[in-house]
């Protein structure tokens, strides 16, 4: 399990959580704890869950998205599912989770991935204690990200 979180875009309106490894009932607890702590801290309008590095997921992953959707809705926010690999997407479509959280494919610039990776390096080791997750707040590069919504390709 690994979770990489960083705050993007100005005014903390977007948070992307990079999930990795296998999501099952066993690992989902820690992942959701870590996401929720960071959502509480940063209060993002849009929560992006990046699945590009997830190798396995069962319906526990669906529960994870449903739960985050519920919490975000209560706060007036949204959840997006970012870049799920085909086999992960298959589970999502069987469950119809795309009706709650839009599936989007976004090109994540290498520099941002790198930043997320660096910020997660410490938190990976301490992932048992979700509170130790480090967040690197990125500012300044928001111009480029402002357009990211237009770059989102809706998938069917």
């Amino acid at each position: 399990m690994g979770l990489k979180i960083y705050d993007e875009v100005e005014e903390k309106s977007k948070l992307t959580a990079f999930l990795s490894g296998e999501i099952d009932h066993h690992s989902a607890k820690e992942i959701r704890k870590e996401i929720d702590i960071n959502v509480q801290k940063l209060n993002p309008t849009n929560l992006y869950l990046d699945f590009s590095k997830v190798d396995f997921m069962d319906s526990s992953g669906i529960g994870l998205v449903m739960g985050r959707y519920k919490l975000q809705s209560e706060r007036g926010g949204k959840v997006f599912i970012q870049n799920p690999p085909p086999l992960i997407k298959k589970v999502m479509l069987v469950a119809g989770i795309n009706k709650l959280a839009k599936i989007v494919s976004i090109d994540v610039p290498l520099s941002e991935m790198q930043k997320a990776k660096e910020s997660a390096q410490n938190s990976d080791k301490l992932s048992v204690q979700a509170e130790s997750a480090e967040i690197s707040v990125q500012s300044g590069s928001s111009d480029k990200d402002n357009n990211s919504d237009e770059n989102i390709k809706k998938e069917t």
């Binding site: 296998e22 099952d24 009932h25 066993h26 989902a28 959701r32 396995f56 997921m57 069962d58 319906s59 526990s60 669906i62 529960g63 994870l64 449903m66 739960g67 086999l87 298959k90 589970v91 069987v94 469950a95």
Partner: protein, 151 residues
Amino acid sequence: MTKKKAKVINEIKVSFPSLSENERFSRLAVSGFASQLDPQVDEISDIKTAVSEAVTNSIVHAYKNEIGKIELVARIYDDNKIYIKIKDHGCGIPDVKKAMEPLFTTSPEEERAGLGFAVMESFMDKLRVISKEGKGTSVILTKKLRTKLDK
């Protein structure tokens, strides 16, 4: 369950305690066993997901407040079919039909989506659930894999 001419060519039996760590172990064990059928990546993924769902059900529901034994049997038939049985001796399901309805869950507080059976059903060819209250539950999954000629 099986057509009369199909012959068992291999079989494994594994039993393990209902610890959530074993969700991963069980699906990897079955995927390792199934690999001798030379399955496609998507077929292995389907099987792993279905096994994970069934084993998670036993851990979360059957043995809700205890640790019990889960027995897994997997067989390969000469017609390229895989048979998987996941059996527990837990609390059982009072109403199997209801439990199989999509989105039905008795553990919403744990963020269970209520989609376990729906996922098993759509990822495998056949799903059979035998349950008795107070005695336990058996989930039988079968799937015929594409033969090499189909690939």
